[in-house]
Subunit: 337 residues, 4 copies
């Protein structure tokens, strides 16, 4: 860390900083400038050290040097992580596509969608059984019955099942049916949940919270990695901004940024990322072009009858067309899809 | 709801909307304008109806009319809710002040702070025992030992203990020691947790998520109210914006806005809301002037030695001075504090 | 417009709204619902009507129906506008690329860059002569000398010159040298300037302000169109959000959104949109995949010696590689580039 | 500046940084840590140096140390600047209040409002003659006729006239009638305009742009100060965020923050800052409590007939009540108002 002193900081204030750095088990190094003084704190970083130093008298600011995440970082592991389960492969030059309805609604619906997904060449089936809904008056999902239907759809098609888990106590149940555990955007910083999926042997799809920085996102992944599960996929699904023509703002620069800072694969969700069916295909194309390792997309046989999120769900026909367009781009970039 | 058709929408599209509205059990009413047609959908609103209608062909947009929350709304309950537990009273013309360290760190620390809080005239003691931390490498709290120390500090001072709960499975344990259960900003949309505290008999302090709209905030409160707990305090603690001179942006207009839309009392957190100790007192004054029913403030006997959040913690002396200034404003506005 | 009355609004309040609507020269139509009443205001929309109605007693909110821009809208002109000047063609299936340094710095620099731009197959040369700089202590551009150098580079290469104009009084001078007038993001709502370029016969590249909504952006274009200049290109260059790993957040969903709402061509600026050279190429690819009609990119022969924006400027080699990758995507989507 | 090298940076890369620093006329100082190396660049800061260093090979990031503004800074001038013109006094313990309509609409309107303003004890009269409007179809102001009416109202009441100027070429005309030149939020980074008002002898009210950081805001003020006009008032009027229950988010922490970093007085605009008349008074109170030196408020004799911004304008009665409440708080804090 670099401790920047205020202009005109007194000697005793600088000495206080030095003393404090050494109490933290770090080495200090003073640099006196023409206008001000900075003190470098060297050694293994210590949690809380930045904050502690920042409050000392005479200190202007403290600048950290190293990224606070480790296991997620490319500093620790250079080669990209590839997550593979059943036919779904995400990363390593393969774009894995996960599609399906927002919520499982009936046997017929999920089987019909699963066949559409399979035939269009995707490998993952999404579908919510436990649904986190903004309003307590909204449809909350079919729960275990929904999980059973997802498993039936998997048996019929061979697709990998991706479904959301909302609390620690659901891990055991959901794991009986799912191939990938999804942690939703609202739960990105639900640490007991992150630790619970960290203890699972299933891969995890971790969605970015709508106001999470890249650092917070990677630290959330770090909770899972640190607990022992190394098969984590990061999912960019849009952030909260002032824009009102889309439900969220989908910031695709996070794709190349994350590729530079982490070995974990990046999945993009153009459905939640825009909240408008008319924008989904263009953003799916853009995500592939930006370098995404996967896509997760909402589709529904009859979007206008969907119990949730119909307004952002592609029809089967729309999905096939999206797949065809994205494949052209993948091919042009020599990616598999 | 009002369904706005696109310009030039065909008759069969308008008929489709009417049919759909009636299938939803609502009555329809068509208004043909010079440039376009709108269809009103009248009756008890139905969850998902807006989304379903929005995807119909020829529809431009759907405008909801009623607030989606009920029990939190002033439409349902006009008189302000006052939350009272031990000496802490929030609402009804009384500004309740809750103060204490970010984390409980030791017996001496929490007892020392508790006496400062008590003597300055506040009635609630905050202190984290289970700490949600952005990094898995940060101090995670003293857990049950921290709760015991909080209870000891309460016995010594009579202050009401306010502490955070992070998961359903902690409710029973935390309830043995706490007077108020706090749901943190990261968990505002952790619905299993909201339902768990909804089943408790203790009052709940619900913090606004950093990217939550007022509607989402009130719907989160609605989860608690609907589950059966009517003693909910809303806490404004700042939102994520582009501003970088503060940790969060503290938008005080939410105070009068919430007073107009809900009967629940509003507490403001100027410590997290600014993230800078030098701004806390001014924002505490402003919160009182804006009409807040309560304040929750971080203080620490030695902020520069705090294991968390020291950079935003007032010293005991700073806290006494904040209390004195806020009291002057409360008095000027004929509020009790 | 739809005027939504508050629940329990009195008859005299509803009558007041009706009277007011009719004073505005609109027709009114009352719809009484089970819970509340709405009044539709039909006819040619009148500026200020929404605001006037919103303040009437008993009114909850007023919902506008029609987009406030006209000439920019696809309602008025369905076929896409193609902007063409010298060899630069933007729109109509042709992706026009504009590249060059942030600032013109010397004869050698701009000529060297112009040749790189030309050889890589782009058709427009950007370069600032009048520079709007956040700090008054920063390099403010070479002014007229810079314009002369741009014209010389054009003569040498045949590229179309795109350069920024900051004030009405510069129009005459800049028009002597430039092929396209650029209105910068800081000036998107500088209406005297918009009107001044509206009177020009040169095409205009209008950059989106970093906190402008799509509606505000299109209304800014409307100022230019209404004044008489129909050759307007819209440029998405990123918005201000909480994200701190990029300089701005580049929200590519604006590309398909704008294509659905306006006939004007859309150019994307991945240099300002990310502020990091390492992210520029990936976002240029994504922009093409999202359907952009053009790109504007910063390049510099020696980015580390640039007087401005070196940190986001591609090297000549980086630019050639970007062009090659974007062309592959353009070809895959059957676009010319 | 502190140049932080990447982990594992090679010796030749570090040497390149040192050489570059010295070419810039700065002194370098290397600090080798256990994990990485940083190089301090000492001496008078040079514009562009940060960016130049950031692009060198092996460099991770560059951290500036000094604030980039000088004349606006408390480092240069410690005692608060008080702006005084006619009876209006802003700063130095005196809260100056400026009120009036969004636009001057008629002789009767502005005279009526001016008397209300005067009698309520305010000292400044606001009113737009040249109006920047988002839509070209909106009322654009009465122009010179409006200025004449403002001057007449001043003659009748003694109030200081505050009115917006939109372009350099208006300075001479507006200065004939106005006492304070207002630079609007849309023009905060219109540098030719900032320089034009910098050459004026009239005080300037500079509004914060809705996406401006504090640093950008102070640098905009620096343009005016540097050109020669030291009588600048900063005006916080709200920022663009995701919040949709207010028109802008009014972040009052900017008041104490600015007081710590600049000697210029701070005025708050609760009308634009909320965009809702029902929230204006509470936020005016909060602004005073936060330490504002002034308020600028929209009032209108008949808000529902206003040609602009009626939805956020107080009635005369509402304004008198706001003044009374704010005065109580000012008195409690020993401020004059």
């Amino acid at each position: 860390m670099i401790v920047v002193m205020k202009e005109g900081a007194a000697k005793w204030q600088i000495d206080g900083v030095i003393e404090h750095i050494e109490q933290l088990g770090l080495r200090s190094h003073v640099i006196e400038g023409t206008e001000l003084t900075v003190v470098a704190a060297l050694g293994e970083k210590r949690d809380g050290a930045k904050q502690a130093l920042e409050t000392l008298e005479g200190v202007d600011k403290v600048v950290p040097i190293l990224a606070p995440y480790k296991m997620a970082s490319t500093e620790v592991k250079k080669e990209p992580t590839v997550v593979e389960t059943r036919g779904l492969r995400v990363g390593g030059g393969q774009i894995g596509v996960i599609a399906g309805p927002c919520s499982v609604e009936s046997r017929q619906q999920i089987l019909e969608v699963a066949h559409v997904v399979k035939e269009a060449g995707a490998a993952g089936l999404r579908g919510g059984a436990f649904k986190p809904r903004t309003s307590p008056y909204s449809f909350q999902g079919m729960k275990e019955k929904g999980l059973e239907l997802l498993a039936e759809a998997r048996d019929a098609t061979g697709l990998a099942v991706v479904t959301e888990i909302m609390a620690k106590e659901q891990v055991e149940l959901v794991s009986k049916y799912a191939d990938v555990l999804q942690v939703g955007a609202r739960n990105m910083q639900n640490y007991p949940l992150l630790e619970a999926v960290g203890e699972s042997t299933l891969p995890v799809l971790l969605k970015r919270g709508p106001s999470a920085t890249m650092e917070e996102f990677l630290l959330a992944a770090e909770y899972i990695l640190k607990t022992g599960n190394s098969r984590v996929m990061l999912c960019e699904r849009g952030i909260r901004t002032f824009e009102d023509h889309t439900r969220f703002t989908l910031p695709l620069a996070s794709v190349p940024y994350l590729h530079q800072h982490t070995h974990l694969p990046i999945v993009v969700d153009p459905s939640h990322g825009t909240g408008k069916v008319s924008l989904v295909t263009a953003m799916a194309r853009a995500a592939v072009a930006a370098g995404a390792d996967g896509l997760i997309v909402e589709i529904h046989p009859n979007p206008d009858k969907a119990l949730s999120d119909g307004y952002q769900s592609l029809t089967p026909e729309g999905f096939r067309s999206m797949m065809a367009e994205c494949r052209k781009i993948a091919r042009a970039l020599e990616m598999q899809m």
